[in-house]
């Protein structure tokens, strides 16, 4: 399947970029209302072209330039970087030291390979519906924290195309965060720590911070289904041993493997010493794992929404949190599917609809994606961008009101 997709891309990408990629919403998103001068123009994009050729420091003056260039280059992959002090495509002409990354969305990357030690169904780049639950859990936890604890409001969650999800925090305050602040937020959200050499990756102690309590509540909802049923972590000796390795010696001395769970409860109830064994096991198995380095760097590049995954052909589509439980990565449209759908003959209704929506500049192009499975994702993206615009207007009104009072 991977090689088939790679072979078809040269044919399909031009079609995708000419008729399906939502340039208008994309440009509206990244312009952020044009409030800051040259915000779009100073944004870095990078393209991965055929044969693994990688070009950085691409930048564009307007939507039209962006479209033309992408349609010309047909990139396999698009990454979005920071907004710089000058136009990235002119960075060589700028005096050394003055070309700086100024702002970027706060981003998070959650990758399924980081969970290999706690999933038995798949490993490395593979995923299935059983382990996908981990992403659902991660999204619920991180989304809640970013909104309720940090007060962020404009979050875009995107499927990465193969084995993970990305979160783009687009609030103005988020875009202006320093490296130290990004790193602090990422660390606040980090509970699972340690590499190959560490067995016990979660350590809890009194007092348990409210954030941890909230996260535990989410994990508890999914733990039985995910770990005990789906992953069957108690189903083989090898797997059980891994769970047992997380239990302190003084508890282990008392119980047999089968009674492990029961023992944990009763021991905790009768002991003065504070144990969080059950919670620690749950968190180690289910709590989100972030790559802090992705979030820290202001200039770190991250794959763009609506970019195509070169190996699977799937489009990096926004995720609708209202229907998170139903999201299935295997239902995400691939570039070959949507291109095929384009060629489907139109029904009478679609003909009418396209005439009604005819764009004065040349027509059918804008409603093309609506005929494909991409439609609902572009709509979701549209709603996200509109919400920000509404909010910006509201903010502007509020500020001018305040000034009037003065």
């Amino acid at each position: 399947a991977e090689t088939v997709t790679a072979a078809c891309l040269p044919e399909l990408l031009p079609l995708y970029y000419r008729r399906l990629f939502p340039f208008s919403q994309y440009h509206r998103w990244l312009s952020y209302g044009g409030v800051t001068k040259n915000y779009f123009q100073n944004r870095e994009f990078s393209f991965t072209l055929k044969d693994d050729i990688y070009v950085r420091y691409q930048s564009f003056s307007n939507q039209n330039e962006l479209e033309k260039e992408i349609q010309k280059m047909n990139p396999y992959k698009i990454d979005i970087g920071a907004v710089y002090s000058h136009r990235p495509n002119q960075h060589n002409t700028v005096k050394s030291g003055t070309f700086q990354a100024l702002e970027k969305e706060l981003v998070f990357d959650i990758d399924m390979t980081d969970y290999d030690d706690v999933r038995r169904c798949c490993s490395s780049a593979d995923i299935c519906t059983k382990c996908w639950i981990l992403m659902t859990i991660a999204i619920r936890i991180i989304d809640r924290a970013l909104r309720e604890d940090f007060g962020f409001r404009h979050l875009l969650w995107v499927y990465s195309g193969r084995r993970g999800v990305h979160c783009w925090v687009c609030d103005e305050a988020a875009r202006k965060l320093s490296v130290a602040a990004r790193s602090a937020v990422a660390e606040y959200l980090t509970l699972v720590k340690g590499g190959e050499e560490t067995v016990k990756k979660v350590q809890l102690s009194d007092p348990v911070h409210p954030f941890i309590k909230e996260s535990l509540a989410v994990v508890r909802r999914y733990f039985t289904d995910y770990a005990l049923v789906g992953q069957d972590i108690m189903g083989s000796k090898e797997s059980m041993d891994k769970v047992v390795a997380l239990v302190p010696d003084d508890i282990l001395a008392l119980c047999s493997f089968i009674l492990l769970y029961v023992c944990i409860f009763s021991y905790q109830a009768s002991s003065k010493k504070s144990y969080y064994t059950e919670e620690e096991i749950m968190l180690q198995y289910c709590y989100p794992r972030l790559d802090v380095n992705v979030s820290k760097g202001v200039n770190h590049l991250l794959k763009s929404p609506f970019s195509v995954h070169p190996k699977t052909g799937r489009i990096s589509v926004p995720i609708d949190l209202r229907e998170l439980g139903q999201f299935n990565p295997f239902d995400v449209p691939t570039i070959s599917l949507i291109c095929k759908e384009l060629d489907r003959p139109r029904t009478a209704e679609e003909e009418e609809a396209s005439v009604r929506e005819r764009d004065p500049d040349g027509g059918e192009i804008f409603s093309d994606y609506k005929r494909t499975s991409l439609a609902k994702y572009v709509k979701l993206f549209d709603q996200f961008v509109e919400e920000m615009e509404r909010s910006r207007k509201g903010e502007l009104l509020r500020r001018t009101d305040l000034q009037k009072d003065f």
Binding site: D52, D149, G151, F152, A184, G195, T198, P207, H209, F211
Partner: protein
Amino acid sequence: MLFGGRKKKGVENPQTELYGHCLQLYTQPPLENISLVEFEQFAVDRMKLLKTVENLGVTHIKTSEDYSKKLHAEISSLNFPHRTEAVASEYEKRRKDHISHFILRLAYCQTEDLRRWFIQQEMDLFRHRFNDLSPKSKSDFLHRNSLQYETISVEEKKSLMEKLINSSYAFSGCTVEEQDFYKVPFQDALDLVRMRKVFVKDGFAYVPHQDIVTIVLNDYRTRLSKALALTARSLPVVQSDERLQPLLSHLSHAYVGQDYSIQKNIGKISLEQIDSLSTKSFPPCMRQLHKALRDSHHLRHGGRMQYGLFLKGIGLTLDQALQFWRAEFLRGKVDADKFDKAYAYSIRHMFGKEGKRTDYTPYSCMKVILSNPPSQGDHHGCPFRHSDPELLKQKLQSYKISSGGINQIDDAGFSLNHPNQYFSESQKLLTGGKEVKRELDSPRRPHAAAGSENSKAPPETPSSSNRVPQEVMDDLDSFFQEE
């Protein structure tokens, strides 16, 4: 700071205004004349004080009574301010505090390392002095320095009671009720947020009065950092004054550490030697990385950086490095084409041949321990900090170190703070270049790893002491013996 020809400010009671509080943030440089004798004396005294701060910080926990007592004693004996009453004698000490700080800025602004050291000690000193203040004095300080954060209302506190209690160690219902909580934008309280030591809601951190020092410290560090950068620019003018140049130079050379950026043995190591060198002279972290590389024919980015730069530090040339990594990666899943396209670039980058052309320096122990902790699938980091104690013990045993050796206190006459230092000292010993009391097979324990597996808070600050203290070794001792 200006010399010669300046009059005192013609403001009413300038002294009481400027030195009205025993503690300050050094935002205004002193504007008076001063004799060279005083200039020197002040500088040297503060230098001694900061050195004491550094040493005490390594041997003691910074909030312990012992630490406070000893630091307090040093502050008094060197005639720095330590009382909150506005007595005449105190005024003189505050003036000295003010002026000496600014003089040392001149000495310590020149390089990254110097600045880092200076900021670290000044912050520790500030923290101690701030914590020493009475609550009223603390509030006074906050007001004088316009750190106006709002306190939350009684109602809000009630509704958040449970969460406030659970967001910090040693809080009970009573202590929450008694204290003021400040609502601080989370960006101003990063250290507390990062370690989840504070309740966060809607973008605000709810900081109890007792923790407000962390906020103040953050602010202090930011200001000081900016100020030092600015000072560095006016340095040439100051250095051209022959009265000052010798003193400033003497002050800044009191602290310097080797960074292994200049390789002395380029090309003296052959690739065939690496396997055997890894068991003889590599510190455990590099030995672990080398083994992981040989076993899986691959290392992730963090591991490649840490190990790659180490190899550069022991003398590998760029060509050797390319050959080494290529041969190993090709044994794995990477084909020649992919290696040349993707990985070769980053190796050349390490040697300063690509991109910004910065010649990256090999990581010190501090950098390995404190930045980029390893996660699933990684092999980098410091085994003494990032590994499970049991696994680590097993590993050391497999390196054929006797259990006695593991527990023994070493006294090789140097303190370890850089992997390449381990390598060069080891090589010196093995090739008979140095007198020694015992075999070098027992590993050095970097002093920063002291008690880190058992303590709740991560080690606070990097240190650059020149000896590994007894207390630290004792901690490690008992840590390994705990079953």
